[in-house]
């Protein structure tokens, strides 16, 4: 996969287009044909596809390795939940502040990191450190429940889309809208002046700067966009699950789960994070099912499998599944085939 053309719809072949439309149609009607369980699995898939896309803006487009994205999920979740529980402010209004708080946190990390020249693995560690500080910190903020957890009121059978209260199907469509929205936003960004600058910064920062790109500004906007999008995923999570525990929401494990779809699917591609989520979550579910069916009660087996999958992917498909699949099935035009 090379260049923008490889990740853009404009490079997609007729066959690829047909597949894309079929997939979109399938997702649009899924709740009418699928049972409750399948809808919940698909919602999880879509959530990971979405946050994977959000992470991809930083790592895939701009080359900034963040291993602390759980921070933005957690801030989005806690801010929107606190506004709802304590002030009765619904998520549609609350998400603005949620995103703002996450952007401020992202910009603080970015500012410190970029201004002080913290690079590569060191930058990744800085992101982990802030996420961990938040995890431990929220354990002690009793206003939002501390380590005992923070709960949103649940009314059985409530249907109040204005406050994001309702059936699983409602959440399914909200998640689908998030994924589609993030996909088109990512595409528009990549096509824009800013997108070109991000890719240039990712590839060769020195050459990008010599070509007139303000490195600091380009990187800061990437962090801001990524953290805002991720916070929205947090708002969704808060209202979908109705409970928040710092140990889960801010955990390093959560940060890793967020980066997996993009890595498995293909870092820096538009379809990669979505494909990655559609591979990982169902595989995990299938494994849970198999373990239960086999009468095995082994906590850790599923994660062990995830670890193995990660190793296999990174050894055999280091650029991810999507670029390889797209080439094999000729879903995108190859370089030199004309636009």
């Amino acid at each position: 996969m090379s260049g923008l053309s490889g990740v853009m719809f404009s490079g997609i072949t007729g066959r690829g287009m047909v597949l894309l439309v079929l997939a979109a149609l399938g997702l649009a009607v899924a709740p009418f044909v699928a049972d409750r369980y399948l809808v919940s699995v698909l919602t999880t898939v879509l959530w990971f596809a979405y946050v994977g896309q959000a992470w991809n803006v930083m790592m895939g487009f701009s080359g900034l390795l963040s291993l602390g994205h759980a921070l933005y999920v957690g801030l989005g979740a806690y801010v929107s939940a606190a506004l709802f529980v304590h002030f009765g402010i619904g998520p549609w209004a609350g998400m603005v502040l949620a995103m703002l708080v996450a952007v401020v946190a992202g910009c603080v990390i970015g500012f410190l990191g970029f201004r002080f020249g913290v690079k590569g693995v060191h930058f990744a560690l800085l992101t982990i450190a802030f996420a961990e500080v938040a995890r431990i910190g929220f354990d002690h903020i009793t206003w939002v429940g501390g380590s005992g957890g923070f709960f949103l009121p649940v009314e059985a059978g409530a249907s109040d889309p204005l406050n994001l209260r309702g059936s699983p199907v409602l959440f399914y469509y909200v998640a689908l809208a998030l994924v589609v929205g993030a996909l088109f936003l990512s595409r528009a960004l990549l096509h824009s002046r800013l997108g070109y600058q991000w890719l240039a910064v990712r590839e060769e920062p020195d050459a990008a700067e010599a070509s007139g790109v303000d490195l600091f500004r380009a990187r800061m906007t990437a962090v801001a966009v990524s953290s805002a999008l991720t916070a929205l995923g947090g708002v969704f999570q808060a209202f979908y699950f109705n409970n928040l525990f710092p140990e889960q929401v801010f955990s390093m494990g959560r940060s890793i789960e967020i980066i997996l779809p993009a890595i498995v699917g293909g870092i820096g591609t538009l379809v990669g994070p979505i494909l990655g989520a559609f591979i990982l979550t169902p595989l995990g579910e299938a494994l849970t099912f198999l373990i239960e069916a086999g009468g095995l009660d082994l906590p850790g087996l599923k994660q062990l499998f995830y670890g193995a999958a990660l190793v296999v992917i990174v050894v055999f498909r280091p650029e991810g599944v999507w670029p390889w699949l797209a080439r094999r099935l000729r879903l995108v035009r190859q370089p030199g085939e004309g636009a």
């Binding site: 996969m1 090379s2 002046r193 240039a200 590839e203 060769e204 050459a207 700067e209 007139g212 370089p335």
Partner: protein, 242 residues
């Protein structure tokens, strides 16, 4: 002839080691000036000081009278100086055209317009047929041309070329010399180049500045400079003039 670029008493030390010491020269508008000297003479450091990669310890760089000292590379680019890198730095995963679009976007907000400009620059440097190939797949001569194309796309008033002819075969050198001469003669682009290929230096430049151990040891017309005993001793040797 007015001076486009003025470099005044530029100095830079790295860990106490003097890389560039009180170097001054001017590049008149519309001319081509070559910066030559043995390896480690401070040529690339001088370039980096002009391009804003790091600030000088002392001295001043002005472009058309505007002080550029202390600006960052992107600001220097915006001020009108385009540069290439001695060790080429293409955006490997982007296509050749996308590489040049990034350059064009320095002065252009619309991606569409930038793409048109990039096309024109690629035509000019005979890279148009490679436009959709990933930059990392190019051969070295093409990569060197891509460096020039990307810098040109930023629409500079002064182009800094860091050894764009090194490693090219003689026929490729001639092609590049033609392109550069054309840019200079027809479009009046001012060029400052670091170059080791003396044949090209003699053919292209109006003036030559020689650095040795971070200091300027000669500055004049090409024919004068290569006859200067100090230059011959420190850099050229007898055989280089063949």
């Amino acid at each position: 002839m007015t001076a486009l670029l003025e470099v005044e008493r530029l100095s830079k030390r790295f860990r106490g080691l003097k890389a560039v010491s009180e170097v001054s020269f001017t590049v008149p508008e519309g001319r081509m000036l070559a910066l030559i000297g043995p390896n480690g003479a401070g040529k690339t450091t001088t370039f980096n000081l002009i391009a804003g990669v790091f600030p000088p310890d002392e001295g001043r760089v002005t472009l058309k009278g505007r002080n550029l000292t202390g600006l960052k590379p992107n600001q220097v680019c915006a001020a009108g100086i385009g540069r290439t890198f001695q060790i080429v730095k293409p955006f490997g995963q982007l296509t050749v055209e996308e590489n040049v679009v990034v350059g064009a976007l320095a002065r252009e907000r619309s991606v569409e317009t930038a793409r048109r400009q990039a096309r024109a620059v690629l035509e000019r440097l005979e890279l148009a047929d490679q436009a959709n190939r990933p930059a990392r797949s190019l051969t070295l001569p093409d990569r060197k041309r891509l460096e020039v194309a990307r810098a040109l796309a930023t629409r500079p008033t002064l182009l800094l070329l860091d050894e764009v002819l090194a490693g090219l075969r003689p026929t490729e050198v001639d092609r590049m010399v033609e392109v550069l001469r054309d840019l200079n003669r027809r479009e009046g682009l001012t060029i400052l180049m670091i170059e080791h290929v003396m044949r090209a230096v003699m053919a292209l430049s109006d003036r030559v500045v020689v650095l040795d151990h971070g200091e300027k040891i000669a500055d004049g017309a090409p024919a004068e400079v290569v006859a200067d005993p100090r230059v011959v001793e420190s850099y050229l040797g007898a055989e280089a003039l063949d």
